[in-house]
């Protein structure tokens, strides 16, 4: 069994309301830091999984992303920097 590490980025799907982003926009506007920032807020995870090979690790990560780290109805995810450690 090998161990793999990856980053996962979870973001809201298009058209889904982003209350956090809206609140940050408001504050940036009020403080004069930026007029039009269109902030979108997502989640960022780093984690490791075990697997025989990269393909298996990837598959496992996909399952983890779909089942635990994101809600596929509202969010999409991307797996990045997958590598053996």
């Amino acid at each position: 069994m090998n161990k793999y590490k990856a980053d996962v980025i979870v973001t809201l799907k298009k058209g889904v309301r982003d209350p956090q982003g809206t609140a940050v926009d408001t504050v940036l506007r009020r403080t004069g830091l930026e007029e039009d920032s269109s902030v979108k807020v997502g989640k960022y995870f780093t984690l490791s999984v075990s697997g025989e090979n990269e393909a298996e690790a990837k598959e496992k990560l996909n399952k983890i992303c779909e089942d635990v780290l994101s809600n596929p109805i509202l969010e999409s995810y991307a797996i990045e920097r997958l590598k053996e450690v």
Partner: protein
């Protein structure tokens, strides 16, 4: 070609042939595409109550706010306590966190629309078995969603119930109830008057929750490439600001009425207002503030974006409303005006795109349901439970069953003290107490349901649910004043469900008449079933009561050296105990006949409990429900952190005696047992002295338990499953 497409459309949108021809009849023409969307939403079960409306009129009405408003209420001095329950079952099954959160958001808006400040929330939750991973996920998400939203808006969640049963595995039930307070003369109606300005206040309208419609459109509209989620996302922060802004706006004399955006958003809020006010409306959809610029009229009308309110204002007051919104940094736009025309008209960039009589939308067809008794009723009645378990094992299984065990894991996540009104907290009594400092007394709040009993006997089971809720209030010292309900069933087009629904409505109506309390508001949720499973018919009863002084509250806790007395019915070998929790927990058994409420006895018991209370003769008080006699004694001593020594088994079947559930029972603890029993005897009320509260042990009829062990099982059961 044209017509063919239209046929496709109405069918895809869920309208039946009959409904479509009814629409044509009422209009005297074919509806256009937009109008077809409008009808499909307003004539959906969710908005139109087509399968239930006919039956809901059987409930006794009354209370301080009339029917047809957003929520009902009962009067307490110069104030009205406004309350309503609502379900958010289907959204919670798909996205538990947002589903439950927006459920809270929705019910709060109803209270707000009356002009009342929301002061408390309750939740009734039903899931599949807690050991099932999917159910766990839903349970966790729902509690988290309620916690997130309710805590943020600063409304305490003070009471509720949680149960786990296989029947709810595919269709969890998430019912929430909100309570508000308003001065009687400040109540706002949802009826619009003509020649007023219509103002939309709150969040931008986006493509959230455009239900069946968006689904259907996917098949029809080739242009829609993006798969748009139909789940609504709540923003409790904006909601909290909207609450404050709305209450400030409603202080303005020029504001005539107010309506929240519920199911079918702008469409239902605006059309119902003019329908109730018997006037007309011109709405300019291009003026609505949008989150996505390319939204179409039907999307704007059907969007269920959260955190929006609609105000009807004297034209000269519009500016004031807009200014208040501005102060709170909330978008607001004038989007139309009411007219004398009795026409509901929509405009899009200067063009009239819909023109309908308001009543054609609002008065969806009413269906009559089949009331024939399904076979299962008599079959289940005949079933007999012939197995037994050792009492030691049974006791441990019951106290650690998540249906019975402590719900601290849940209510610890809810802010239940914000508002500084909470006189009785979760876990302290059968009902929550909310201090009405405006009047000096305390309002009692409870929510209850019993799907197992209603399944076995829809009429008596539902009737029992109402009385059970009454006992929750009475055992905490409150006089019941009014009811709200949330009726959860499977598909009403199936005869079995139709029967369950109609009979339980009758049962609730009968109980409310017997108890002399009105049903002031409510909600219906059908189609809670999957191909594999259907939920138990689950009418959830929410109730509000009142007591004029905080000194008259009763808590559950029994104290050491007090005598424990059962007041009311006693179980004997012939008692009907169908639907008892222990049968389901120990044997997965459901069957037999349910007990019937004895109205005369219930009223006697209420009187005697209050009399004993006023004479300061009650230490702790609890009504006997799930878990039976043993369960009630256990909760009393656990709450007071003491023990028990006495007798509980008064029939040949020890399990039945200990855990069997019948109506009409309270248990009290008292330091003056002589005086209490004298009183009970003089009024010829059935009672039984059960024993004494003593430290460290629970001993009855030869059985002995260590309290530390049992209390630990009770406290940690849900935590162990869910994590700290």
């Amino acid at each position: 070609m044209q017509t063919e497409q239209k046929i496709e459309l109405y069918k895809a949108l869920g309208l039946t042939d009959y409904e479509y021809s009814e629409i044509k009849n009422r209009l005297g023409r074919e509806p256009n595409t937009l109008e077809t969307y409008l009808f499909s939403a307003m004539w959906s079960e969710h908005c139109g109550y087509m399968h239930s409306r006919k039956y809901l009129s059987r409930f006794p009405s009354g209370g301080a706010v009339s029917h047809g408003e957003n929520a009902g209420g009962v009067q307490v001095g110069e104030h009205v306590i406004v309350f309503k329950a609502e379900s958010h079952n289907h959204p919670s099954a798909v996205e538990p966190f947002q589903g439950a959160a927006t459920g809270i958001g929705g019910i709060i808006r109803d209270i707000l629309a009356i002009g009342a400040r929301p002061i408390a929330l309750l939740d009734s939750l039903k899931f599949g078995k807690i050991t099932n991973n999917f159910s766990k996920h839903i349970f966790d998400g729902v509690v988290n969603g309620i916690s997130h939203y309710g805590n943020c808006i600063g409304v305490p969640t003070v009471a509720g119930e949680v149960s786990f049963d296989e029947s709810y595995t595919d269709s969890p039930l998430v019912n929430v109830m909100a309570v508000g307070i308003v001065k009687k003369d400040k109540i706002r109606s949802a009826k619009a008057e003509p020649n007023k300005t219509v103002i939309a206040v709150g969040s931008h309208t986006g493509r959230d929750g455009i239900h069946g419609a968006s689904f259907a459109s996917k098949e029809l509209n080739e242009n829609s490439k993006e798969d748009r989620p139909s789940v609504q996302v709540g923003d409790p922060f904006i909601k909290k600001v909207l609450i404050e802004a709305t209450l400030e706006i409603l202080e303005l004399e020029e504001v005539q009425s107010c309506q929240d955006y519920g199911a079918a958003g702008l469409l239902s809020s605006s059309s119902e207002m003019v329908y109730k006010g018997e006037c007309g409306l011109d709405l300019y959809l291009d003026r609505v503030h949008l989150r996505e610029a390319d939204m179409q009229p039907w999307e704007i009308m059907l969007s269920e974006s959260q955190e929006r309110m609609l105000f009807i204002v004297e034209p000269n007051g519009a500016e004031k409303v807009l200014n208040i919104a501005k102060k709170f940094d909330i978008p607001a736009r004038v989007i139309g005006e009411t007219t004398t025309s009795n026409k509901y008209r929509l405009f899009w960039h200067g063009v009239e795109v819909a023109n309908l009589p308001p009543e054609s939308l609002a008065e969806a067809p009413k269906y009559t349901l089949c009331e024939e008794e399904p076979e299962y009723i008599s079959e289940y009645k005949k079933l007999n439970l012939n197995r037994t378990t050792s009492i030691e094992e049974a006791v441990k299984k019951i106290v650690s069953d998540p249906n019975f065990a402590s719900k601290r894991w849940v209510y610890r996540q809810y802010d239940h003290t914000v508002g500084t009104r909470t006189s009785l907290k979760p876990g302290q009594a059968g009902a929550a107490g909310i201090w009405i400092h405006e009047e000096g007394g305390v309002a009692g709040l409870a929510i209850d349901s019993n799907g197992r009993q209603v399944f076995l006997n829809p009429y008596e089971g539902a009737r029992n649910s109402v009385w059970e809720c009454c006992r929750n209030l009475i055992s905490s010292g409150f006089k019941p004043l009014g009811v709200t309900d949330c009726l959860n069933y499977g598909n009403p087009e199936k005869d079995e469900v139709a029967y369950q629904f109609v009979k339980s409505v009758d049962g609730i109506a009968q109980a409310c008449r017997e108890a002399e309390i009105p049903v002031v508001s409510g909600n219906v949720s059908f189609y809670n079933e999957s191909p594999e499973r259907r939920v138990f018919p689950t009418p959830t009863i929410g109730m509000v009561g009142y007591v004029d002084s905080p000194d008259k509250l009763l808590k559950t806790a029994f104290s050491t050296d007090e005598t424990v007395i059962l007041i009311g019915k006693q179980i004997n070998d012939d008692s009907d105990i169908g639907g008892s929790l222990y049968q389901r927990v120990l044997y997965d058994f459901l069957g037999g006949e349910v007990d019937k409420t004895d109205v005369k006895l219930e009223k006697q018991l209420e009187e005697i409990i209050f009399e004993l209370r006023d004479k300061k003769l009650i230490g702790g008080c609890i009504d006997v429900s799930e878990g039976g006699l043993f369960g009630a004694v256990f909760e009393g001593i656990k709450s007071g952190n003491t023990g028990f020594k006495g007798n509980l088994v008064y029939s040949n079947n020890a399990e039945k005696a200990l855990f069997g559930e019948i109506t009409g029972r309270y248990i009290i603890s008292t330091a003056n047992s002589d005086e209490v029993t004298k009183k009970l005897e003089s009024q010829q009320i059935q009672y039984k002295t059960l024993g004494l509260c003593a430290n460290k042990k629970i001993e009855f009829d030869g059985y002995s338990f260590n309290t530390t062990e049992l209390y630990d099982l009770y406290d940690k059961s849900i935590e162990l499953e869910m994590g700290r």
